[in-house]
């Protein structure tokens, strides 16, 4: 079975239908199946019948809720996705503008009437061609962070809303810096589950950083921000403490300015560290483009 030729007969397809649907074919066999199905005039209804069982199988898996942070990581990755960079965000301003005060409904209401599925030309018409301007990209990031905020919103008690608002204001401050001409921006992602944020480096070397979901500091412990330029040497930007709400806003000067910089945050036993204590808590690459 390991030396499958790319062409299978319809009889062989029937023989392999059940394992194919269940994902139990070796790669080459599965490829051969797909090639056959794509070109075979016969419908192979049995494949459809078998496949219709899969949702039942899937539903037999015990329900496990994904961790809350996964959505923010997904959306940040999507926003920074090179395969979609420069893609068009349809009216990004409208996406960002509403203050994220009301939780997004988990399951939007099903429309009363079926929506007519638009034809390809109609969809094309709806698309708004848009070049990859930093502005669009920034709005996307702002959307991500706003959404990331919303992700945790459902579990936030009313008393914790202040924390989210604080972070929102920090993000706005960073975006101010990021929107300056020649500025770089980065999404910082946690290395081990906690500590995400947004940073901007202006053309004059000033840095703004907004972080959330950081473990609080205590005693002499601080978080320290670092910038790593093309020489690969981490330069300390300064340190900051984090209170019980896990958010922080930090500004510094004197960053080198290059086309691409890495920004990182570490946890240090005290201020003044000249080399980072590993592991890096959160990091991201600052560029002028998505």
């Amino acid at each position: 079975m390991t030396d499958q030729t790319p062409s299978l007969t319809c009889d062989e397809i029937r023989d392999l239908a059940a394992p194919f649907v269940l994902g139990a074919l070796a790669d080459g066999e599965a490829e051969a199946m797909r090639a056959h199905i794509a070109s075979c005039p016969e419908l192979h209804a049995e494949l459809v019948d078998f496949a219709s069982v899969l949702p039942i199988l899937a539903a037999s898996a015990p329900v496990v809720e994904p961790p809350a942070g996964l959505k923010a990581r997904l959306l940040a990755a999507a926003a920074a996705d090179p395969a979609r960079a420069g893609g068009e965000a349809e009216s990004p301003a409208a996406t960002v503008a509403p203050a994220p005060v009301v939780p997004v409904p988990a399951a939007p209401i099903v429309p009363a009437a079926p929506i007519a599925f638009p034809s390809a030309p109609e969809r094309e018409e709806r698309r708004v061609p848009r070049s990859s301007s930093p502005g669009t990209w920034l709005l996307r990031i702002a959307a991500v962070l706003a959404i990331g905020l919303l992700g945790g919103w459902n579990v936030l008690l009313q008393g914790q809303l202040g924390e989210a608002r604080t972070y929102e204001q920090s993000v706005a401050a960073v975006l101010d810096t990021a929107s300056q001409r020649g500025a770089l921006a980065a999404i910082l992602r946690p290395s081990e589950g906690h500590g995400e944020g947004l940073a901007a480096v202006a053309a004059d070397g000033s840095v703004a950083l907004a972080m959330r979901d950081l473990a609080p500091t205590a005693g002499s412990t601080v978080y320290q921000a670092w910038v790593i330029a093309s020489d690969g040497v981490p330069r300390p930007l300064g340190s900051f403490t984090v209170g019980g709400n896990g958010t922080a806003y930090f500004e510094a000067n004197g960053s080198p300015v290059e086309a691409s910089l890495i920004l990182a945050v570490t946890r240090e036993p005290r201020t003044g560290a000249q080399t980072p204590t590993l592991p890096i808590v959160s990091s991201g690459t600052a560029t002028t483009e998505g």
Partner: protein, 209 residues
Amino acid sequence: MSETPTPLRLRVATVADDADRSVLIRVSNGELIALDELYERYKTMAYSIAYRITNDATLAEDVVQEAFLGAWRNAERYIEGRGSVKTWLLSIVHHRAIDAVRRRRPTTELPEFEALPPPALRAPDVWSEVAAGLDAVEVRAALGALSDVQREAIELAYFSGLTQQEIAERTGTPLGTVKSRMRLGLLAMRKVMTMNDGTSMTGQEAEPR
């Protein structure tokens, strides 16, 4: 999800699918909010399956993130098709999870084009009917139709990611017997589902569970 006056499985599925597709169109336009909606709808289904297959929280997270990133990248391609969005996502998550356990390492790059179900599998609406109308009773009934050896073969394939050859070796069973257990098992489940068709709908879309 919402009350639908028509107590027909097909009707419910169609409406749910239309809502899904309208979300997917917005995803294809690069709207992160729409990706957020899609994620909210199917995160539990996706993560449950990924976790069941990988039995590893980190790997399951990778699988789910990659699957939704795949949807983000390929929504444009997908909406040309006619199948249900839920089933499409289900198949992406399944493929990726199986891939992950076979390699036992997180895949770091996405293939250029996400594995779509072959056209023949997407063609009829029977998938979306089934996907939209699942309830616990139906699931139990369908699984109850399996003999022990059929269930073993099917679970080793679908959830453990073993190939049919590996299942034959693991269970000390000839390959032909493994194939026929899978085949007869799927047919038995399908038969139960067909019997239930049109008799168990309440007009509410069931959650993945």
